[in-house]
């Protein structure tokens, strides 16, 4: 089956190992991975800023780039939620694209959702081990119902001990431009997230979204915590945690 990888602009720029890990997982599931080279961004920043026209242009671009695949897989609940739950509304005044948006939404999966509910993957080739906590990112959890999927995948790893942290479903305070426009508030919210994480005493925080990742990791380091890793679940499931990609 032909699986289009929408790697997301933040993974592309900030942490390519997550994209490579996603490819490795999809190939392990015997998927033919298609990476449309011209992909950039799903349009969410424009959509959330109120710039509907730009968001529409980018949504149409994504729709045309993934027109001939069986599935689209995205290592992000936030970008996945944008395509699955917002494109239709965004393109509602363009009848031709509205139907295409529905078509795309039905074929689009957040990575862990795809691995559990489409290919039912239950064995992984990873060297990763340690105690971890899982942060449920907002869009994944509340737009796409991503809750059990990552936990199920992680339960297959013999050397990973998942400890549930307090406030796992609480927002990390990223919120896109919110993090810079309302920095004081955002900073307080992510501080509380770090408090909850540190109280859980784990080696790594695992999550499925880059915004939360940059925000939480950035805050931990600023607080002087250089020990707790912050990893995307694809990195954990493959053992590709950054260094190997350079």
């Amino acid at each position: 089956m032909r699986v289009g990888l929408f790697v997301t602009c933040v993974v592309d720029l900030m942490r390519p190992s997550i994209g490579l890990a996603a490819v490795k997982l999809l190939e392990r599931a015997d998927c033919e991975v298609i990476f449309p080279e011209n992909q950039t961004c799903c349009g969410q920043p424009a959509y959330n800023a109120g710039d509907r026209l730009t968001a529409q242009q980018l949504a149409r671009k994504v729709i045309s780039e993934f027109a001939d695949v069986d599935y689209v897989v995205i290592p992000s609940g936030s970008c996945g939620g944008m395509i699955k739950t917002h494109y239709e509304e965004l393109l509602s005044d363009l009848p031709e694209y509205r139907v295409k948006a529905q078509w795309l939404a039905a074929r689009t999966y957040e990575l862990t959702d795809f691995l559990v509910n489409v290919v039912d993957m239950d064995s992984f080739d990873t060297t990763f081990q340690g105690a971890i906590a899982y942060h449920d990112s907002c869009a994944g959890l509340r737009e796409l119902n991503i809750k059990e999927q990552p936990r199920k995948l992680l339960s297959h790893l013999a050397h990973v001990d998942l400890k549930e942290m307090a406030g796992a479903e609480q927002c990390c305070g990223f919120g896109g431009t919110f993090s810079v426009k309302y920095g004081d508030i955002s900073s307080r919210i992510v501080d509380l997230k770090c408090d909850d994480l540190e109280a859980t005493e784990v080696d790594a925080l695992v999550l499925g979204d880059l915004g939360c990742m940059l925000n939480i990791e950035g805050k931990l380091r600023r607080r002087g915590n250089h020990k707790t890793k912050v990893l995307h679940i694809a990195e954990v499931l493959t053992g590709l945690v950054g260094e190997e990609t350079e």
Binding site: G19, F174, G176, T177
Partner: protein
């Protein structure tokens, strides 16, 4: 009430540094979130009830003209005197006129957020009539000369110590430090006012068209004394509170106390249908209801209509990560939290509350707890679109967005620019792989946290290069 939402940024930053407030907010959060979760979990069809309630509210709003007329007819048949107010001044003036017509010297008041909107207390006092708030939270706020910071727990920003200090000063009695004793003291002080007040003012959570009733939910019993003891009772409400039938009200009752305070039912559910009848032992001789519009009709005809479904439970703010940390006063008007971030600009003008719809992470915690399924993040996004259309966005935000969009729509250029950014970012990160000092827009990020550095190459470059190598 004076609108100060334009100061959101500076006020919220100050609130984050207010240690006493932070303590109170932390306590309030657990006091609301945990009990709600418990009682919601006890229902096996909570989601179905939410949907049914949203449908009932939608139906009621779609035919609001019909139901308001029906309500008025039934209310008048029960002897209620009905007034309509199209402005805050009109409502306030009506209250004063009713008071003057009845030679009222003292008013006791149960909680009303509409009264907060119109600034009723100050207006009435300006006409030489005494007003006593009787809900404990409202009483505290009135003594402190402040505004409520929460729609159902108005004094939630105050600690027990704050109240102890306040009471000692205002009551001129020895300072107490026990919550129960403080409550008893307030009760002792309020009791005589209940007995000699000439008029009672309440809000109304709902107006039921089928019976012409108004309903209030309270936990302290003050509401019921306010509706029954004085000679005159005036209920103030707003048009969107009208629901069609008693059955609909029963449905709302399954949701409202649970969502608000984690109670299965409020201690007092008081339904008022007309004044005292000949066979009744007590009740007011006159019962007036004043129904406010101000902004509601306009919102009803707009794409923000869903916000009018609100039944004022406060769950959205209790669960909001922003509200939880800055409290209600930062929002600068009557309704704080996510619903306030929609209603404040909707009622007062988008340009007068620019920050509110933007000061949200769109985490949708509010949307999933709302008992009537108001899509609050979507409404905030709609307000952002209106700001964008009306050119109300800051130029820095607009231009950085434009630059980014220009690149994102030109993939070749985009891939070159991101390639450079990945390299430069890696250099900036150095051995620590952290960037702690960015310029321009990035400054606001690194003021509070580091930025994990890019790894030197983009995924696109690594992946496409890898495939080229394999294919050779």
């Amino acid at each position: 009430m004076e609108l100060t939402s334009h100061q959101f940024k500076s006020v919220s930053s100050a609130k984050l540094k207010d240690v006493k407030l932070q303590k109170a907010l932390y306590k309030a959060k657990d006091g609301f979130v945990v009990p709600r979760a418990k009682v919601v979990a006890e229902l096996d069809n909570f989601e179905e009830i939410r949907q049914a309630a949203a449908d009932v509210r939608d139906h009621g709003l779609a035919h609001l003209d019909v139901y308001l007329e029906e309500w008025e007819k039934q209310a008048q048949a029960a002897g209620t005197i009905v007034h309509w107010a199209e402005s805050y001044e009109e409502l306030n003036a009506l209250v004063v006129k009713i008071a003057q017509d009845n030679q009222v010297k003292k008013i006791i008041k149960s909680k009303s957020m509409v009264g907060e909107e119109t600034g009723l207390n100050r207006y009435v006092e300006g006409h030489g009539i005494e007003v006593k708030e009787t809900d404990l939270g409202e009483y505290i706020i009135q003594q402190a000369d402040e505004h409520p910071s929460h729609i159902i727990a108005p004094a939630t920003h105050k600690s027990k110590d704050d109240v102890a200090d306040l009471f000692a000063e205002k009551h001129q009695r020895p300072r107490l430090d026990d919550a129960e004793k403080l409550t008893h003291e307030a009760r002792e002080i309020l009791r005589p006012h209940f007995l000699d007040a000439d008029m009672g003012i309440t809000g109304a959570n709902f107006m039921i068209a089928e019976t012409g009733s108004t309903v209030i939910l309270t936990n302290e019993g003050n509401g019921r004394m306010t509706t029954t003891m004085p000679r005159v009772h005036v209920a103030i409400s707003s048009i969107e509170k009208c629901i069609p039938t008693l059955d609909d009200f029963a449905l709302m009752m399954r949701l409202l106390p649970r969502s608000a305070t984690g109670q299965v039912i409020s201690n007092y559910v008081s339904m008022t249908t007309g004044p005292k009848r000949a066979k009744d032992n007590d009740g007011p001789g006159e019962f007036h209801v004043i129904i406010l519009d101000v902004g509601r009709t306009r919102v009803l005809g707009s794409d923000l209509r869903d916000a009018l479904r609100c039944i004022r439970c406060g769950a959205c703010m209790n669960h909001c990560p922003v509200y939880q940390n800055v409290g209600g006063h930062a929002y600068g008007w009557v309704y704080p939290g996510p619903i306030g971030s929609v209603l404040t600009p909707a009622y007062n003008g988008i340009e007068n509350a620019i920050d509110l719809p933007n000061a949200a992470t769109l985490c949708n915690q509010c949307g999933v707890v709302c008992p009537v399924k108001i899509p609050l993040p979507d409404l905030m996004r709609k307000l952002r679109e209106k700001q964008y259309e009306r050119n109300l966005k800051s130029s820095a935000e607009k231009w950085s967005l434009r630059l980014w969009a220009y690149l994102a729509l030109r993939p070749k250029l985009y891939s070159i620019v991101t390639r450079i950014m990945a390299r430069v970012g890696k250099l900036l990160g150095g051995d620590s792989r952290r960037i702690n000092h960015l310029l321009f827009g990035g400054k606001d990020w690194t003021r509070h946290r580091d930025l994990p550095a890019p790894r030197g190459r983009t995924f696109r470059d690594i992946y496409l290069n890898r495939n080229k190598t394999t294919n050779r």
